[in-house]
Amino acid sequence: MTPSVVVVGAGPAGLVAATEAATAGASVTVLDERAEPGGQLRYRVQPVTSGIGSDAERPDRLADRLLDDALAAGVRFRCDATVAGCFAGLELLLIEEGATSRVVADAMIVATGSTDLPYPFAGATLPGVFSGRGMQILLNTHRVRPGRRFAIIGGASDAEELAVDVMLAGGEVVWSGIAPAPFLRAEGADGVRRLAVGSDHYAVDVIAIAVGRQADPALATMAGTPLAFSPDLGGLVPQIDDSLQSPVRGLFVAGDAAGVGSVAAVIAEGRLAGITAAASLGLASNEDVAAVRAAGGPELTWRLGRRTTLEAVTVQPYE
């Protein structure tokens, strides 16, 4: 019987990992909770560099390209399919249209991406306060601009990208920056009307928090993968080896779920996870894995290098 691989998450890392494993000969199924494969590439609109093809391109075009490659390699997709848990033996609990089922495969690649980092401040639960990526989904996927005057909290690339998205959607960025959380306060009776930054007040009706992202490796940790802390990779990340293999047999983690990075980096990592998974099933050689690793570029090398020094943080056993 053909060895099976299940990939959780159809973002750039998951799509590429699936294509790589299927090309090597595995029977590959990709599960994704959204209606359409593509992950972050479906709700971002500014050009991204993929590392495959020379120029920056529109994220949705890149997603279409990666999806075409996967379909051509024989990858099957189950969308609107939410994985709610992972049990012993890498058994997944899947929810589709309100019905549950179990999925088991010979190998599993966790490519579940990232979530926005929190930045709690007074008033941050008022209607009108959003996470940065949530705001991107609202603006770019649903074409809804929830207000006119925006404040964006954050000082790095995520905040800069969101500011451009807001302006493209016809909004005005009234204030953008980073301040210690105790100096911030969202004000308004039934929704955001002002943002106080220290003693300054800005009249806004939307506040977006885009201070960065963190890996979302919950399925990998649930299966028994230890976590380790890496400031370079965005905080707590799964402790996996430099071939992206977890200490849990048959489990691999790739892309933002293994530590936040650029689109080009997560694509390079997806490819490595796909070939490593295939090799674990006897479908590829160590030389194949080494070749994919060598072709991954400097950011992949840097990311893999970060992993070699990670030390697992212990979780206190539940007693």
Binding site: M1, T2, S4, V6, S27, T29, E33, T82, V83, A84, G85, F87, E91, L93, L94, I95, G98, A99, T100, S101, R102, V103, V104, A105, T115, L117, P118, P120, F121, A122, G123, T125, A179, P180, A181, P182, F183, R185, V197, G198, S199, D200, Q214, D216, A218, L219, T221, M222, L227, F229, S230, P231, G235, L236, E311, V313, T314, V315, Q316, Y318
Partner: protein, 117 residues
């Protein structure tokens, strides 16, 4: 930002900041849990319910971990998060009640229906 002339701690209103949105746990409740002897993120979770809601700690754990590090002197890279448990996404009880077996590849069924959550 410009100097406001006020101390960070003076500005902080710990009774107005939700650290855990899902379970509506305020910053001062986390502070109180630490004052009561909580030494880890899991300790705080069990005392306060922070991290036990819909998002399963995605929103609160980085903040609580930083507070634990500050309070205990344990470096932040040595502070563990909470134990990941299913479900990582909300599940209707109706769907769980109807749990049946399936296998990704072929029709072969390997799972029993007794798997507890």
């Amino acid at each position: 930002m410009r100097d406001t002339g006020r101390d960070e701690r003076e500005m902080l209103d710990a009774g107005a900041v939700f650290v855990c949105r899902c379970e509506e746990i305020l910053l001062d409740e986390i502070v109180a849990a630490i004052a009561d002897g909580a030494q880890s993120v899991d300790d705080i979770k069990r005392r306060s319910r922070a991290g036990m809601g819909t998002c399963q700690g995605i929103f609160c754990v980085p903040v609580i971990a930083a507070m634990v590090a500050q309070a205990t002197g344990v470096p932040i890279d040595r502070v563990a998060g909470i134990t990941a448990r299913p479900p990582v996404r909300p599940v209707m009880l109706e769907a769980l009640a109807d749990l049946h077996s399936d296998v990704a590849d072929e029709g072969e069924s390997t799972a029993s229906d007794e798997e507890g959550l």
